[in-house]
Symmetry: C2
Subunit: 129 residues, 2 copies
């Protein structure tokens, strides 16, 4: 059993092109022995956003704090406001982006399979994979 | 893209032997097209607890609200207090239990792989699988 607090894990800037004011904490990943999926905690500062991108694995998200919007859908232009208690499922290959539209930090949990790795497409590895 | 609020999903009593005052919302599961893992939202009322059990798949947990404790470890007797912002990883086959030790509802997110199903051991299917 592994028990840790979100604030005990160092936040790392999200080093992916298109990310702006985003940091990530890898809470549970492959190095912890997670065999199937990784738990990552994100913070997006006001005015920030995740990359507008697509990849060959899904996202499962719970918004914890703050105000923002998620873009997704067939062409990545369906936009939903998001706040604490909102759950988002983004299937593989769907163009998407999370944006902070509020005045506080947007915090969300985003889980990905550990068995996929977008480096296979010549991109950067999935953080947590 | 699927966006929904936790409170939009009906909470179902956890129908597993040993569960007491526990309800679950299946937020993202196989029926939503989730290929690898399922997101479930749990509420444990004061005095309640999840089953003390083990199974052939892991748990990844984030505590959202309330006070409680988790039992796990080699013999299921390592006990850690838990509260909002605590993350717990329980590997497959580890004996474990979540207990509400507070006066409010203990809320946590618990993710499991969709590709495992404890019904294979003659038990009930994994909720969300």
């Amino acid at each position: 059993m592994l028990v840790k607090k979100v604030e005990q894990v160092a936040a790392q800037p999200m080093a992916i092109e298109g990310a702006h004011k985003v940091s990530m904490r890898l809470m549970i990943g492959r190095d912890d022995g997670a065999p199937h999926f990784a738990m990552r905690h994100f913070e997006v500062a006001p005015g920030g956003h995740t990359p507008r991108h697509r990849h060959n694995y899904e996202h499962e998200v719970l918004v914890l704090e703050g105000r923002g919007e998620v873009a997704g859908g067939a062409d990545g232009n369906d936009i939903h406001p998001i706040g604490a208690g909102d759950v988002v499922f983004l299937p593989a290959q769907e163009l998407h982006q999370f944006r902070n539209t509020g005045t506080g930090v947007l915090q969300f949990l985003c889980l990905v399979p550990t068995t996929f790795d977008c480096a296979a497409d010549g991109e950067q590895p999935t953080p947590g994979s």
